[in-house]
């Protein structure tokens, strides 16, 4: 939606002349203050709090750089570790298979 121009003289004039003549519902003021009180006292969800903190912090260049560096290092370390684990497993499998090939008294159970 396109924002209205607050300096528009015609709009400003119309707004000054406008009067709301429809009656308010009963206990309108009380209900409004009650809802405001509820909103103020309701505890914010921790995830929402974290999300707000993240989105606000991400605007700071130092935070963005640190965040990217930490994730980059985490990704690199996880990839290397996973590759090492896979290699270790493959090595163990192949060594066992070699032994089975040369020793007729060892075979996998079916």
């Amino acid at each position: 939606m396109k924002p209205e121009n607050p300096n528009d003289p015609i709009l400003s004039k119309l707004l000054r002349e406008w009067k709301n003549e429809s009656p308010l519902p009963p206990r309108f003021n009380e209900q409004v203050w009650h809802r405001i009180a509820l909103e103020d006292s309701a505890p914010a969800h921790p995830l929402l709090f974290v999300w707000k903190w993240l989105t606000q912090s991400a605007m700071r260049p130092s935070f963005a750089a640190g965040y990217a560096t930490i994730l980059l290092c985490t990704g690199l370390t996880a990839g290397l570790w996973q590759a090492h684990e896979s290699s270790q497993r493959a090595s163990e499998t192949l060594s066992a298979r070699y032994v089975q090939m040369v020793d007729p008294y060892q075979m996998p159970r079916h």
Binding site: Y98, V102, P104
Partner: protein, 165 residues
Amino acid sequence: MKRPWFILVGGLLLALIAYGASYHFASSNSSCCLLSKPMPELAWLQTEFHLSNEEFARIQKLHETYQSGCAERCAKIDAKNAELTKLLAQTNTVSPEIENALQEAAQLRTACQKTMLEHFYAVSQTMPPAQGKRYLAWVTERTLGSEHNSMTHDSPAATHEHHAE
């Protein structure tokens, strides 16, 4: 509001790319790639004991020669074991026939292990001295070590059937 999203999601994407790249790089020179080779067990031997291509070719030949005789010996052991099982089912005492079959099975086993040990020595002598020594210690521990030397092993010939799969 778009910039924080871009930074947060971009960071996660960066982590994923870093993970994939490092995994690919580290895997390309590891044992994982050996599984796709024609004889991955021998390829593993080459990697594990740092063998040159010439040494590896000689070991391949030794292995082929050994495997061709091994199937025949194992078939003999299987036949002897079957005979022994049949004799054991017929009686509840150690008859002279059972004693004889046990001796023959033991002789076959000894012959098979002797040939296996000769093969290990031949392979170890093909390797550089330090690696040959390491190979010999490793393979004898795995094959002739106490934990693999019981009387309850499965059919030796089935091993060769399994290898043919």
